[in-house]
């Protein structure tokens, strides 16, 4: 086998979908879609959403937010800006809050995703949802699912000792103070300005006084 031919084979070895020898595993891309330069490319992905395994075949361009809203009909997560600037799309993936608008659904193979619907439902609210209701932590409600997902994760981050810009000393263990909460919640914008009630709700769940 000449060198050029060998190269061609190994190149195909990587490109062939699911080739066992390949070190780069492509998700299942159907032949037809791979054809034209700008034709949509479909790929399969499976992850767990709110405890249920979901399998999807999606245009690779689909963000996690669009997959949740458009394909799985979980419309609790909101699209405010679609550019990481507002936090309305915040969900919890593998225990961490992220902006679902700035990540691709196909990048979450095997992931565990929790949306506002998975935190709690009417009649069985998550304590953070109940506290937002009690403290009027919203007005129009558009930013609220993102605020609540973010708030739940913030308390875990403080517990885990993740530092923030509010702490004067990055070596000290962070505490639940309103300065800390405001800083940590800054990635969630509320056009209605419900901020102070949001901080009260989170403070109550954390077990402190607002």
């Amino acid at each position: 086998m000449d060198a050029a031919h060998k190269l061609e084979i190994s190149r195909r070895g990587v490109l062939i979908v699911g080739a066992a020898a390949s070190a780069v595993a492509a998700p299942s891309v159907s032949e037809a879609q791979a054809a034209g330069a700008d034709a949509p490319v479909l790929a399969k992905v499976a992850f767990e959403v709110n405890g249920t395994r979901r399998e999807l075949e999606l245009d690779t361009r689909t963000t996690l937010l669009d997959a949740l809203r458009e394909n799985l009909n979980l419309t609790g997560s909101k699209k405010g800006c679609d550019h990481g600037q507002c936090g309305a799309c915040t969900v919890i993936v593998d225990g961490r809050r992220i902006n679902s608008c700035l990540t691709l659904a196909v990048m979450h193979e095997g992931g565990r995703i929790t949306t506002i619907e998975g935190l709690g439902q009417p009649g069985a609210l998550h304590p953070m949802q109940a506290a937002f209701v009690k403290h009027d932590g919203f007005q129009c409600g558009y930013c609220t699912p993102g605020q609540i997902c973010s708030a739940v994760a913030v308390l875990d981050e403080i517990k885990a000792g993740v530092p923030s810009h509010a702490g004067a000393d990055v070596t000290a263990a962070p505490q639940v103070t309103s300065d800390e909460l405001r800083e940590r919640m800054s990635g969630n914008i509320c056009r209605c300005g419900a901020y102070s009630n949001i901080i009260e709700a989170i403070t109550e769940v954390a077990g402190g006084n607002a």
Binding site: V14, V24, T60, D82, R97, I98, V170
Partner: protein, 316 residues
């Protein structure tokens, strides 16, 4: 967004090989900058190579007493690492001053270094911009330059580099470790990693096409009081107008790098001996030859005052 094919790289050699085969491929890590730009078609890759499975997610001690930070370590994890908080406090502080909690959970070490400018003309495909479309002109030179560079710019581009993390890495003399498409490793001092725009503002760094960042290393700790101060239009979740990363030793000597002022983290080692004489002396030297514009001339005074505040904080 342009359609693209997607693959997960399982090992670094395969990742660079896949990149070398496909001229319009790009690596994707956290995706927080790349996807943002792809939605606006400022970046238009035809193939994405996901590097999240490469295992570059550890922070390890090096033989010479420093730290080796994997390219995929998330900004949150780097800021929270005990060794970083204790020995490289300026880095931890710079990280938590950037973006939001959600973004830092995704943003990676390599992606943060390679994030592109936030120049408003770069972000607006309807405007001329040499960085986005070489040869189309620079909208900022005749336009609003309040956020843009005061030093190191060119007739082609006056953009700034937006990273906070990189400013701290510059003051700590970090190095960037890479693997090129031929499978060769090299190490780039952070001072030589980001470039000035010159007549090629479309090129942000000295990284070769298809070169993969594998890690960033920090030399052994240098002690001192380590401060990061960032001035911006709101108290959180905004890019720097000016930032200062400073390491101040007991005897008043130290190091300082500035963010928000140039196409790269701005550090002039020759200005550092002036630290004992105060902020103005340092800024006069570090910003000698600055070419501020009407809208952003305030950054020079702001740099001086931010450094003065950082030095006061270090002494307190």
């Amino acid at each position: 967004m342009r359609a693209f094919s997607y693959e997960r790289a399982r090992d670094p050699q395969a990742a660079v090989a896949a990149m070398a085969r496909t001229p319009d491929a790009k690596f994707i890590a956290g995706g927080t900058n790349l996807l943002d730009l792809m939605k606006l078609e400022i970046e238009r890759p035809g193939r994405l190579i996901d590097v999240n499975g490469l295992g570059f997610d550890k922070i390890e001690a090096t033989a010479d007493g420093g730290l080796r930070i994997g390219a995929l370590v998330r900004n949150t994890d780097l800021a929270a690492d005990e060794r970083v908080r204790r020995d490289y406090g300026v880095l931890s502080r710079a990280l938590v001053a950037g973006a939001s909690g959600q973004l830092r959970n995704k943003a990676t070490t390599a992606g943060n270094l390679l994030q592109r400018t936030r120049c408003p003309y770069f972000y607006d495909p309807g405007q001329p911009c040499n960085k986005r479309q070489p040869g189309s002109g620079c909208g900022a030179l005749q336009g609003f330059s309040r956020q843009l560079a005061v030093i190191g710019g060119s007739e082609a581009c006056i953009a700034t580099h937006p990273s906070d993390m990189a400013v701290a890495m510059r003051v700590l003399d970090a190095s960037v470790e890479t693997l090129n498409p031929e499978g060769k490793a090299r190490r780039i001092p952070i001072a030589e990693f980001h470039r000035l725009p010159g007549d090629k503002p479309q090129i942000d760094t000295t990284l070769g096409r298809g070169e993969l960042i594998t890690a960033v290393t920090l030399p052994r700790p240098i002690g001192g009081v380590q401060v990061y101060r960032k001035v911006r239009d709101r108290a959180s979740y905004a890019f720097a107008l000016v930032s200062v990363a400073a390491v101040v030793q007991r005897d008043g000597s130290g190091r300082v790098a500035f963010g928000g002022v140039a196409h790269k983290p701005w550090r002039v080692e020759a200005a550092e001996p002036a630290m004992a004489s105060g902020a103005k002396a340092v800024v006069d030297r570090a910003f000698a030859g600055a070419k501020p514009r009407h809208d952003n001339a305030f950054k020079l005074l702001l740099a001086e005052r931010t450094l003065a505040a950082a030095m006061a904080e270090a002494r307190a």
